[in-house]
Subunit: 564 residues, 2 copies
């Protein structure tokens, strides 16, 4: 049974959208004649030595691209898949593409979905995927077909249970549709299976709205485009409100965890007066007071030309990139880690003020000073709301309100000095959950459908430890390329929860020379005082192709887009 019942009434767009047919690139047509071609051997991003020892079987596999061969008659296979982590638009289309490709290769092929994330895989909780089910979810948002979850398959017991599941289910392959953490986990499971002689192949699919799972081979993760286009609609609506009502500044926080890709992409799409990029703030070693000045300067400049309004974009992870705050959060994560001796003592304290006092006493003088500077509400959130790993949940910190308060205080000073003479009224906004489950853009719908197709091919060809790859995304979908990247090639060793672990390297905004960031730096000066807002409007699904099929700006810029 599906995790969520289907609606009795459905919207007109829902009905229409289910009929949309994603384009299949030339290189992915006629699956019977496709073979994988080995390109070059891969290493890892760093720590080759350690990773070789951990991933004895998977390390160093070759990059694959698709080529042609005489038609093959594929034997029937049975494939599983699971959604992992936060939802991203297009997940259903990965499953649809996978299902259609499996049926095309051999109508006897079978597909099962594990329910509510990796836990479903550990506990063999599943649902058989039928054509009827698939047709209810084509080109629609959400992960509700089979649900998702944030559990990991890490302990020996979990790995064993998972192996038991795939053996009982007699699976040839399992697709793990997830972000960097989930794909790291996929690699661990794949290696374990391989070492244990289990022949089920693990295949990764690059999902995340944050855009931090990208590299030379993976041009972008799916869901990023739909999320940023949705946020851009809201941001540009607010920008137009700000220059219509001419009386308020809007501080808009955008989801995206550590990396500022979402904020950068939305800034390129909408041209706000200011967009903060965490990676740049860190690279320049800015303090909270510097960031405050930067914004107050813009408010002052605009007030001088009678504009007491504007739009500021704030990335979700900003506070972590401000050195003094970053080291505080690091210290807090240490204190509050799941295996920290302090945690038990803190949890034992009933009262929040006692908890805060305990933490103060154990933070050390410098961090304690920074901690005391934070508004009470934020201190409370930092302690209360942590993810399953014990990490401070950055998305719960009302960063936009913290920044507003700092700017307010600074402008008060400037007013006294006489340099600023405007009216500062500010509203805070946070967009995040509203962009993860919308109907996927044509770009995401097509990208995902074809990622699923590649996943089917990888399973059919018994390839283990690969991530499906669809590339050349700046071009028209018909010309997109396809292949697969060894998961180990994206890895390095990093400290996680106080332990050195193999992980897929998170991609941050490259402030040293990525095309998107360069474009932003070159142009943002023109957005501060003049109102050069771009009004993107809502995502369109019908109408002229240049309007409905456009890829994300950062893809257009990095692939020298030939699309338009």
């Amino acid at each position: 049974m599906a995790v969520s019942e289907s609606s009795q009434r459905e919207s007109k767009l829902f009905t229409h959208r289910k009929k949309y047919k994603p384009t299949v690139p030339k290189c992915l047509r006629n699956l019977a004649t496709i073979k994988f071609v080995e390109e070059y051997e891969t290493s890892s991003v760093a720590n080759e030595f350690e990773l070789k020892q951990i991933f004895v079987n998977l390390f160093g596999q070759k990059l694959l691209s698709v080529g042609r061969s005489p038609p093959t008659k594929y034997k029937p296979i049975r494939v599983g898949m699971v959604l992992s982590g936060g939802p991203a638009s297009g997940g259903h289309n990965v499953i649809c593409g996978l299902y259609d490709a499996l049926m095309e290769m051999n109508p006897k092929n079978e597909l099962i979905g594990f329910l509510r994330g990796p836990k479903g895989l550990i506990e063999n909780n599943f649902e058989i995927v039928t054509g009827e089910l698939i047709d209810q979810y084509r080109n629609t948002g959400g992960f509700d077909m089979i649900g998702t979850g944030r559990d990991k398959i890490e302990t020996e017991n979990q790995l064993k249970s998972t192996m038991q599941t795939v053996m009982e289910q007699n699976l040839d392959g399992v697709l793990i549709i997830g972000g960097d953490d989930s794909n790291t986990n996929a690699c661990v499971v794949g290696e374990y299976f391989s070492q244990q002689g289990c022949e089920t192949n693990i295949i990764g699919i690059p999902k995340t709205i944050d855009g931090d799972l990208q590299n030379e081979e993976i041009e972008i993760s799916f869901g990023f485009h739909t999320a940023t286009r949705t946020y851009a609609e809201m941001v540009s609506n607010i920008a137009r409100d700000s220059c219509s009502a001419v009386k308020a500044w809007h501080f808009i926080k955008l989801m995206g965890r550590d990396a500022s890709h979402v904020t950068l992409e939305v800034a390129l799409q909408t041209q706000p007066n200011i967009a903060l990029i965490s990676e740049e703030i860190k690279a320049e070693g800015l303090m909270l007071s510097d960031v405050t000045d930067l914004i107050a300067d813009a408010v002052e400049k605009r007030a001088n030309v009678n504009k007491d309004y504007g739009v500021v974009l704030v990335p979700e992870g900003l506070l972590q990139f401000i050195p003094s705050l970053q080291s505080l959060i690091h210290a807090l994560n240490g204190l509050l880690a799941n295996d920290s001796a302090h945690l038990q003592e803190i949890d034992a304290l009933e009262d929040m003020s006692d908890k805060i006092e305990y933490i103060r006493q154990n933070l050390g003088t410098t961090h304690c000073a920074t901690f005391n500077m934070l508004p009470k509400e934020i201190r409370r959130e930092l302690i209360n709301e942590r993810d399953p790993h014990g990490n401070v949940q950055v998305s719960r910190i009302p960063t936009e309100l913290l920044i507003i308060r700092c700017v307010e205080a600074e402008l008060k000073k400037r007013k006294k000095k006489g340099t600023y003479n405007g009216k500062f009224k500010a509203h805070g906004h946070f967009f995040g959950y509203d962009g993860r489950c919308g109907f996927p853009t044509n770009f995401d719908a097509q990208y995902c459908y074809n990622l699923g197709r590649v996943g089917a091919l990888l399973a059919q060809n018994k390839l283990n430890g690969y991530m499906a790859r669809v590339h050349n995304l700046g071009d028209s979908p018909i010309n997109w390329g396809a292949g697969a990247v060894p998961l180990t090639s994206m890895m390095n060793m990093e400290v996680r929860h106080n332990k050195l672990k193999p992980v897929i390297k998170k991609c941050l905004v490259d402030v040293e020379g990525s095309p998107a960031f360069d474009y932003f730096v070159m142009n943002r000066g023109d957005w501060v005082v003049p109102d050069n807002y771009i009004y993107t409007g809502p995502i369109q699904f019908f109408g002229p192709p240049e309007l409905v099929d456009e890829p994300p700006m950062i893809v257009q810029l990095k692939t020298n887009c030939t699309y338009n």
Copy 2:
């Protein structure tokens, strides 16, 4: 010069949207042959006696509809217009419809726009509207072509200055594009002009996203549809997130001032688990604890079937409709009114805690108890953030967070009692500013364009004190009807800032038997435990007419929609 510079780069949707041609209903084609036909004499909603004395010249005018006559050769006229109050999508199209109609009636006609709201009219600050300017704003959102403002034309001096402006400008008519307050003000100005022998005619256009400017004649105000469709997109994205991630409740506050029309419309569009309707809560005399129980019951029921997630819609004005809170706000408005003796004393106090203490001492025991119950942050907002009339700004109160905290506390109790055994994690959202300036839906684009057209006809026919009317909106635009409603016919006397004043009666949700509310009550039971969310997706502008031309649900329900 336009208030806001136009963008150097514009979005593809912007370019396409400017080319869209709104449908003109049959009854509004060939303007030269249109005449107004008098229907029946009107009175007022109430207080006929008082209103007759205030509006000596305008009271009792007849309802007008459009009919046909032999072609007229119109003499050239000069018309002004002004945007008043908060932005609403479609404002630019009113101006475009007005401009096109003026040009069609006589190419020598002239149109000027007063800048930044009624103040522009008082100060004769204007811009001449040209075809070139118009073409940059067709079918786009925002009020930035000429800006808007919240000033009123009330004092003798302001009325005199306004008359001076229209005489200097030699205007035959002025369109006031605004909500209930602005149209009330339009009526006051129209009456004043008439009494002074000034021949400029004042014409009102029904604007407001809140939907509280509607009645038997005015089926809906413009901007309501675009705003609710935009909020519905976000709400349904969040609903799909909630049943995908299956781990959080989302409390979504929606703009709309006092009335719950926006929340009701969005609920009909998206079918959330719970939608609070302020008017119903008041009618049933519910306390804050009752509202809390109502939600906690639903959380408990869903937890019993393993659903620790859901969506609750909260109307912006909710707190005012909870009797104990309502009387507190009333008392605060009295204390903080612009002409209150207390206000000066409060303003003189530097420190917030002193202000709070002062208010406590002057509130009286009962109100003081309620005031003390509120979280500190909310008390601060109540005092700090008031509108130009001195009223508490309800939109600044984080009602959604207040409700979350109450529900949290209640569930804690139930957990102890053992009746509730779920996990309650909640996120708050507020959508408001993001829905006022989007590209107008086809419905709003067409409705506004034709309101502008009727406005031009009223000016040309020298009709004073009317609101333009386009009706039969549940039908296809080609069959829409047109006419005009005397502004006085919508009025009654109400206490505003402690004084009895003539005002257009605000329309609240009729819980005694309006089709939209009845439909909601009949169906909402099926939304609490089953996930019957409707995923509306973003507003579409291209594609099949049943998808792109749909009117608001409340219009469909009240007009026995023949559209589909």
